[in-house]
């Protein structure tokens, strides 16, 4: 550890691993450390032994759940949106060669006490119980308006302006019912609350187009999932980093962020050793998040809000999903009198994340009260009998400074959204702060024998 590095990266979550990979490809000398003996940090997938060690340290995993090694339980419920930014990074860096992907079978939305599939074809849309006959006609006009919109052709604008008009006025123009608005804003544009309605329609337009183009790409649902769990993603980017010279140290205690007299970053101390580098990037847990008392180090992050997540092991598919092997279910906040949506993400042995005939569902939401478990009850009730349940409450942290002054660049916690788009936004943001220029994806050089 006596060498000097360009960048030290702390924590092997997906955000840090993408950054580490891209920085190594760029020619930076990277040292990547993690206090855990596994990859992935907060975005890891755990086997049963690791899962029980984390949530029930005094209990061994029950034998009836099957082989330990068959499990890869995600800690964070997210899917890859097919036409999204993460897909672009995966393809550009060519790490797809280390991964295999499967589709998520269906996306569902909760309305008036029951769940319905978000239509993926015109046929499904015609049959969908989500809208009545006249409402379907209005919705069709709305979607045709979006699909046909061309910025430079006012004839396609119907007198609307996406950049100045709020989304609610576009809804009003097409006379869409509140339930339809819930479905469009939450199940397609994937907003967690209703604040978007007062904001310019442009962002909602972009999100709906992303959703429909993702849906059109492989059908069924707009989501993809890596076989063996989401924890494969950080591993794949870590391998990219290593191939380009990145040095990896797992199971390494990080005791101190060492600063000079001006408060600028100098190095990282682990035990008696200090490794020097020009810059440090890390997840909030290495910069005071969750730490208390003496020796916790300087607090460089603030808590924005908290998320409750319940990992539920089921022995049956979720009722009402047509026995899907995987699904997303969105419970829009208005439907259950909340401010934030409740999400359910479910995968199964089809994705090589658990034993046969086991289904793993994660119910999550942003916490609004002091009784978080009660808040996710509408989600839990949709699951049927729950065989095992592991509930956790995670504060979401965001850095207090840009790192420009001290060369300390901190990533954000994984938020409550159902996909990785905000993770990529964070990658782009940190990249810009670290490198001083925008992240431009370059094709990875073709390796000699391929």
């Amino acid at each position: 550890m006596d060498e000097e590095y360009d960048v030290i990266v702390l924590g092997t979550g997906l955000t840090e691993c993408i950054l580490s990979g891209l920085l190594s490809v760029e020619g930076k000398k990277v040292l990547h450390m993690d206090r855990n003996d596994y990859y992935g940090g907060d975005s890891a997938s755990l086997n049963l032994t690791q899962l029980y060690r984390k949530f029930r340290p005094d209990q061994a995993p029950p034998a009836e759940l099957g082989r330990d090694r068959d499990y890869a339980i995600d800690l964070i419920p997210k899917f890859i949106i097919a036409s999204g930014e993460l897909t672009k990074i995966l393809v550009h860096t060519n790490v797809t060669r280390y991964l295999e992907f499967k589709q998520i079978a269906g996306s569902f939305v909760y309305r008036d006490g029951r769940i319905s599939k978000v239509p993926s074809t015109e046929m499904e849309a015609v049959k969908s119980p989500l809208m009545g006959l006249f409402e379907k006609r209005r919705a069709k006009q709305f979607f045709e308006f979006l699909q046909n919109w061309k910025d430079d052709d006012p004839a396609t604008h119907q007198g609307r302006n996406l950049d100045t008009e709020p989304m609610e006025s576009i809804y009003a123009y097409f006379k869409l019912e509140p339930g339809t608005q819930d479905f469009i804003g939450h199940a397609m544009a994937l907003y967690l609350d209703d604040d978007y309605k007062k904001k310019p329609a442009r962002q909602t337009y972009n999100r709906i187009i992303l959703y429909t183009s993702s849906m059109a790409r492989w059908g069924k649902s707009p989501y993809l999932y890596p076989l063996y769990g989401l924890g494969e993603l950080p591993q794949a980017f870590a391998r990219l980093s290593a191939i380009y010279g990145g040095t990896y140290m797992l199971d390494k205690k990080v005791d101190e962020i060492v600063l000079d007299s001006q408060g600028k970053f100098v190095g990282v101390r682990s035990g008696d050793e200090t490794v020097k580098a020009k810059q440090v990037i890390g997840d909030p847990s290495y910069f005071g998040a969750g730490a208390t008392g003496a020796g916790a180090g300087k607090m460089r992050v603030v808590e924005e809000h908290k998320v409750v997540r319940a990992i539920c092991i089921l022995k049956h598919p979720i009722p009402g999903t047509d026995d899907s092997d995987s699904a997303q279910i969105i419970i829009p906040q208005n439907q259950v009198g909340r401010r934030n949506d409740i999400y359910i993400a479910m995968v199964s042995s089809t994705h090589n994340v658990c034993s046969k005939d086991i289904y793993v569902a994660i119910v999550s939401t942003i916490i609004e009260t002091d009784k978080p478990e009660l808040e996710i009850r509408p989600g839990l009730e949709l699951l049927g009998p729950i065989h095992e349940k592991f509930v956790s409450i995670s504060p979401l942290f965001t850095p207090t400074s840009s790192g420009k002054e001290d060369n300390i660049f901190i990533t954000r916690s994984y938020d409550a959204t159902s996909h990785f788009e905000t993770v990529v936004e964070d990658v782009q943001d940190v990249w810009k702060r670290v490198m001083g220029s925008d992240l431009v994806l370059k094709e990875r050089e073709i390796e000699p024998t391929e």
């Binding site: 280390y98 794949a236 391998r239 390494k252 390796e447 000699p448 391929e450």
Partner: protein
């Protein structure tokens, strides 16, 4: 009708025993005396002609240096069909390391994995510290294939991969779980494929 079978092969062993050099010799018939630690090319493929009808394509994974601080990801072992665990015949400690990698493979990899223990650097016979008898005895006890080779002269290198190719089970259907992707075609969704043809009408 000729058939091609694809298998994932992983390399293991202490740093500087010559893992990458063996692969470089096998894949490109090259050797570089001052080869840097693995950078840039840690995913190579090479085919072996088993007979007139059968070609074996190895998808070879190098450690990319992640073995140095015991930081190899589970992904590395996943679905590996065969492993070459390398030691340096001039460093007896490297055989000890090889033993611990073999234990790791037995713990992490599929139980049906074929493991070859390989002593590299036979061109440095004068400095030999690990006898053939010692290594062979250990390999026999553990049920491993065993061989010696020199990445520098090329001696024995092709033989390792040919011997492994002969031991791989060709009867199993390629799509079976635990097999590498057949013929380089991903079994799942191919992210880099062009979007599907426009679907009829709007999506809702």
């Amino acid at each position: 009708m000729s058939r091609q079978y694809q298998f994932k092969l992983v390399l293991l062993g202490e740093s500087a025993v010559g893992k990458s050099s063996l692969v470089l010799r096998f894949v490109k018939d090259q050797f570089d005396d001052y080869r840097e630690s693995t950078i840039g090319a840690a995913f190579l493929t090479q085919t072996v002609q088993l007979d007139d009808q059968t070609t074996i394509r190895f998808e070879i994974w190098d450690t990319a240096g992640q073995e140095r601080y015991k930081s190899l990801a589970p992904m590395y072992y996943r679905n590996a069909n065969c492993a070459v665990v390398v030691y340096d015949i001039t460093q007896s400690a490297s055989l000890e390391k090889a033993r611990s990698w073999i234990r790791e493979l037995q713990r992490q990899a599929d139980p049906s994995i074929i493991i070859a223990l390989c002593g590299n650097k036979t061109d440095l016979e004068a400095r030999r510290q690990v006898t053939q008898e010692e290594a062979k005895k250990y390999a026999e006890e553990e049920g491993l294939m065993w061989c010696e080779a020199s990445a520098k002269t090329g001696e024995g290198v092709q033989d390792i991969f040919m011997a492994i190719a002969k031991k791989l089970p060709l009867s199993a259907p390629q799509s079976q779980k635990g097999q590498a992707r057949a013929g380089g075609q991903p079994r799942g969704v191919d992210l880099s494929s062009k979007p599907a043809a426009e679907q009829d009408g709007c999506n809702c």
